[in-house]
Amino acid sequence: MKLWNHYHTPHSIDQAIALLNQYQGKAKVVAGGTDLIVELREGHHPIQEALIDVTQIPELTRLTTNNNEIYVGAGVTHSQIVKSAVLVARATCLVESCGVVGGPQVRNVGTLGGNVAHALPAGDGTTSLVALDAKAEIIMSGQRRVVPIAEMFRGPGQSLIDSTRDVIIGFRFVLCSDNEATAFKRIMRPQGVALPILGCAIWVRLNPAQTHFEAARVSIAPIGPTPGRAAEVEAILIGQPATDTIIEQAIETALQILKPRTSKYRATGDYRKEMIAVLLRRTLQLAVQRARTGQAVPEGIGME
């Protein structure tokens, strides 16, 4: 069945915005189409007058490092992220989360920007961007803006931007340096829709002696309606010894404050609680180990 009428492939952001304006809400941005085209076919959106393909715009396909900061264009695919040596070494969690999205065919076209714009409470790429404290560069209502990643979401499936009008250009975040590391893990079930029961991304910085947590960012999803950080859990860690005892304390805190819900054909709230403990333990331990050794070999790529 026909799902759209026109297909445009602009080569600049200005052109893309101009096209969107021209269609006045009857066209949508498309990147890999792995969410949008499937949803169009399911009838979640009306037939689009046009699709505006943003994957040929140089600013959206760039992946560039500037000292300790990296810029990942919104149109960079999951596969490109998995293959990026700098991300593997210095933003391992992002590689681990993009590496488990779908299968190779989906990762070869699906983009990080699409993952964020789709705004699922547990989009895997998004979970890691939150732990990396990324900032999104967007064009919203014609204005170029820089928005902290956590502010990109308004509700389940609802992003700050309106993809009939706005464009996510890319993401910026600081890469891990000495004594810093990240990790991502998720729990899946073999039945039903391929969304995680729970995903967890963590960024930690140890002190130079590598004995204590100096800073930590913990992202667990889905917990609320939008992706976000578990500040109370981070607070338990910061300044404390990087030991299993403290990790267990962090878990206890997480179990007290996080109230995961039962979701139909995904998981019971009770199970999710159990998984909070398992995931936090496994992910934190891995992040600490990576921070100490300075070595990071991504785990679970393509299989979890």
Partner: protein, 935 residues
């Protein structure tokens, strides 16, 4: 229309096409490259994979204009121009990785991309690359072997040896791993499935489905739809020319509903239009007024007094059929028991998920060279299709021709009528060819599934480990229409003692009408469900008695001389004990010092074991026969014709091998023509694991008759006594003299002699249930052991290894048979661990492929398969059924292993890691909920 410039398989195309096209549409419809298949259009199945600048993508969701200026490679571009196959293609053939072939292009393209990047991939790399490219037939082991071998060949190290199973007494063509028929076409993309056919002036059809699972139809208004430009016909029940009913056993299923709809898949109106889009648009314009009625959502409620009666004409109300087995004296049996276990088991509705959605093309008489109304369809039962089409169209059967195309998987799900009658009606009404292709989402809602069951099973044994009694009550959710419920649930009932000596049995099964999608045939035919209860109870009992579960089964195993619960005395070919000992030997030798269970950190490992048996053939008194025609030609080739279906299981090569054997011909000189009601004699339904036996025998006997005719002629031609002639590689020889088969046929023609023989084979007679005697003419047997890993922190279950012993009488084609076993096992793992078709009060929740996960290559365990060949004297060369036996005991073997690993027993499938973990944490030992209960 806009300009699209793309290079496809090295050829530059400048196309002028709508911008709304997907790449798959451009390839299939604009360029006629139908090797790229469409299985779901959801980016789930991966069979539509093509390479763009070398990178695999799902072409079903890839906008064509995204490929502007790029290079596309499809399966048609793999082989070289001179026809030499790519190593990936050749190795898929050699390693038996092609069954129905519908997934093959996708698997090969994904594999090719992998090999371009990684010249020596290990299992892990292959699994990562192929994780979302599904195959429902092979079980993936052969696919992995084929890719590794292709890699080795491409590295210049030569291909790897094929993992051929050991078999006994190979003959000239029998027990030889010859390549299946059409395999070359399947790997090159030339193979044609129904949707790959197009005809001039062809229309596209769609069906309006019910809006409620149960409702009265008050009014249907098609005026607006009819008025839509491009719509050629809109038909309703009022336009059904003949009887508005079809059905394989009971004729209870309306062609188009007139007064009541009974499930969401019911057809209310059909449309034929110039394009698919117009047909879809027209459906929205049909107005149907309904009065919703109370929904019968489950079989137990269906049996209650409050439930509305769904089929007022059915004499027993919602009770479609009460099936009984009575054997011995049940009370006395339990009185002898020292141990009794009684538990309730639940199995879910399961979807076949064959990768090719249903498609039918109707061609009116006088069009495209067809003299009569012709229907092209990938059907398991062409002759019954013809019968049902003719009745609905009010035509004599001779006025209808059904031509079976290649089938992209069936597994029992393509036995009932889906679009055949509708396509025929629309072709009649419009005078044009009409294609009715179901979307995956429609397929999910419409075709019959595996029965969900509730099974209460009580088993008694003495303290020295002898089974004394089985009492069982089964409820089967038959859904809205009868389909094959009667037969399937009969099999569930008669096999509910398991493959054991059980002197006293009382088994009652209630097959119920509900407002859920109908249930019908599905590989295992009801036995999959009862075996889960039987084999779980066996392990519970073994533990109560304090006896080893293997020993317990050995003590009670059926043997030659055993009387089954239906009163049949087994006279031969009972290979159960041999399957058991082979599997046991392998388990024990695995690590020297055998343990049922062990721990390593937070991982628990354990073995579990289960046995099974499954009848071959229709049985129960149904006349089981097949006709074959065999003809020799002047070019020295022979054609064998039967109207049986090859849905990928390999019937075609079995039939060809039988003919090659009888005439001692090279296999490649035998052609097979299947499934054409005008050209091939009736082979009966492809169901109940019967085709190897029945059609194989038909080919064997008919070929032998042809041999006699040829021998007589050759004797005359060579002027030698007939009994001194022998056949060798296409020659008939006598001492120094010989004649080529082709030359002989030419001589026969010249002398007015026919080189064609037609013969109907009748399988040994059987008796109906309840009359004692032989209910079936053969049984296949199996033992499987599963090694599982359970993550004790998450509850996640992984199957690491399956050891299978399968008694199939004779392995006519060992490699392809092994593929059946591997595929059956992996399909059964889905039944146990991943699959459940969820219906919420009559409304399918599983209306997307994304909501139905079948095992992918990442779930594929190591499979060690032993073929046991306990011949059955009446089978072709001793063979009996193979299609189902390998898919029955996997689930209980896995659940028994989970129990050994965790101490928790699963009573409802599919296994829910959530409930399993909570039980482990709470110290509970029994789990009665499954994935679909997480709400």
């Amino acid at each position: 229309m806009s300009k699209l410039d793309i290079t496809v398989n090295g050829q530059i195309h400048h196309l002028d096409i709508p911008e709304s096209r997907t790449l798959a549409q451009v390839l299939r419809y604009d360029l006629g490259l139908t090797g790229t298949k469409i299985g779901c259009e959801e980016a789930e199945c991966g069979i539509c994979t093509v390479l763009i600048n070398g990178t695999p993508v799902n072409s079903c969701i890839f906008p064509a204009f995204k490929a502007q200026g790029r290079e596309v490679q499809t399966v048609e571009g793999l082989a070289q121009d001179d026809g030499e196959l790519h190593p990936v293609q050749q190795n898929f053939i050699d390693h038996g990785a092609v069954q129905c072939g519908f997934c093959t292009p996708g698997l090969m393209m994904t594999a090719t991309a992998l090999l371009n990047e990684n010249s020596d991939p290990d299992d892990h790399a292959i699994k990562v690359a192929l994780k979302d490219t599904y195959c429902r037939c092979t079980g993936y082991a052969s696919v992995i072997a084929a890719i590794k071998s292709a890699a080795s060949e491409m590295r210049g190290e030569g291909s790897l040896p094929v993992n051929e199973p050991d078999v006994s007494e190979p003959m000239h063509a029998i027990s030889r791993s010859v390549p299946p028929q059409h395999v070359r076409e399947k790997v090159t993309g030339a193979a044609k499935y129904t949707d790959d056919y197009v005809f001039d002036g062809m229309l596209y059809a769609r069906t309006l489905r019910a809006a409620y699972p149960h409702a009265r139809i008050l009014d249907i208004n098609t005026e607006q739809a009819r008025a839509l430009p491009g719509v050629v016909a809109v038909l309703t029940h009022a336009n059904v020319p003949g009887e508005n009913l079809h059905g394989l056993v009971y004729r209870d299923w309306p062609v188009l509903c007139s007064d009541v709809v009974r499930y969401m898949g019911d057809g209310v109106a059909i449309v034929a239009a110039e394009t698919e889009d117009i047909a879809a648009e027209a459906l929205k314009l049909i107005e149907v007024e309904y009065e919703p009625l109370p929904v019968v959502g489950d079989p137990k409620f269906a049996h209650s007094h409050e439930a509305p009666i769904l089929h007022p004409h059915h004499p027993t109300g919602n009770l479609l059929k009460h099936i009984k087995v009575r054997h011995g004296d049940i009370e006395q049996g339990f009185a002898q028991a020292d141990y009794i276990v009684e538990r309730e088991y639940r199995t879910p509705t399961v979807e076949h998920a064959f990768l090719e959605p249903e498609c039918s093309i109707g061609i009116p008489p006088g069009v495209a060279g067809h003299e009569k109304l012709t229907i092209l369809v990938g059907s398991q039962i062409p002759y019954q299709d013809r019968n049902q089409i003719a009745l609905a169209l009010g035509l004599p059967e001779e006025k209808v021709r059904v031509i079976g195309t290649l089938i992209g998987g069936g597994f029992g799900g393509k036995e009932d009528i889906t679009g055949q009658i509708h396509a025929a009606m629309l072709a009649q009404a419009t005078g044009r060819p009409v294609k009715m292709l179901y979307t995956r989402q429609e397929s999910l809602i419409v075709h019959p599934k595996r029965h969900a069951t509730i099974i209460r099973m009580k088993t008694g044994a003495t303290k020295d480990g002898k089974l004394v009694a089985v009492e069982a009550e089964l409820y089967g959710d038959g859904g809205a229409y009868a389909s094959l419920s009667d037969k399937v649930m009969t099999r569930a009932t008669t096999h509910a003692t398991g493959p054991y000596v059980v002197p006293n049995a009382k088994i009652d099964c209630y097959a119920m009408y509900t407002n859920n999608p109908p249930s019908g045939a599905f590989r295992g035919f009801g036995v999959t469900q009862s075996a889960f209860a039987v084999e779980s109870n066996m392990d519970i009992l073994a533990e109560m008695i304090g006896i080893d579960p293997i020993e317990f089964r050995r003590l009670n195993a059926q043997k030659v001389g055993t009387t089954t619960a239906t009163g049949q005395v087994l006279r031969e070919s009972v290979g159960l004990l041999e399957t058991l000992s082979h599997v046991e030997q392998d388990m024990m030798s695995a690590d020297g010092d055998f343990h049922w269970a062990w721990r390593d950190g937070h991982k628990a490992y354990a073995w579990g074991l289960a046995c099974a048996y499954k009848n071959t053939g229709l049985g129960g008194g149904a006349p089981d026969r097949a006709e074959a025609e065999v003809e020799a030609f002047e070019d020295g080739s022979v054609e064998v014709r039967v109207a049986s279906a090859d849905m990928g299981q390999g019937l075609a090569h079995v039939v060809a091998q039988c003919t090659a054997e009888e005439l001692k011909l090279p296999y490649n000189r035998v052609r097979v023509l299947l499934c054409d009601t005008d050209l091939t004699p009736n082979g009966g339904p492809t169901t109940a694991s019967r085709q190897t036996f029945v059609s194989g025998n038909a080919a064997r006997v008919t070929s032998a008759l042809l041999r006699e005719a040829l021998t007589r002629s050759a004797a005359e031609f060579l002027d030698v006594p007939p009994e001194t002639l022998y056949y060798e590689e296409g020659l008939l020889r006598h001492n120094g003299k010989s004649v080529e088969l082709g030359q002989l046929v030419g001589w026969m023609k010249g002398n007015g002699l026919s080189s064609k023989v037609r013969h109907e084979y009748h399988a040994p007679a059987t008796q109906p249930l309840g009359t004692g005697g032989d209910m079936h003419f053969a049984f296949s047997y199996a033992t499987q052991a599963a090694l599982v890993e359970v993550d004790m922190e998450t509850g996640a279950v992984k199957v690491l290894k399956i050891i299978a012993g399968t008694d199939i009488g004779r392995a006519i084609n060992p490699l392809m048979l092994q593929g059946q076993v591997e595929g059956g096992i992996v399909m059964a793992m889905g039944n146990c661990l991943t699959e459940s078709y969820i219906v919420e009060n009559g409304v399918p929740w599983t209306n997307l492929f994304a909501r139905y996960k079948m095992p992918s290559i990442k779930h594929a365990p190591e499979i060690i398969s032993h073929l046991i060949e306990d011949r059955v004297s009446t089978g072709p060369y001793g063979a009996k059924g193979v299609g189902e036996i390998c898919s029955i005991n996997t689930s209980p073997a896995i659940c028994n292993a989970i129990y050994h690993a965790t101490g928790v027993r699963i009573f409802s499938l599919p296994v829910d890691q959530d409930a399993l973990l909570r039980a482990i944490r709470a110290g509970q030992t029994e789990v009665y909920t499954a994935w679909h209960d997480v709400r």
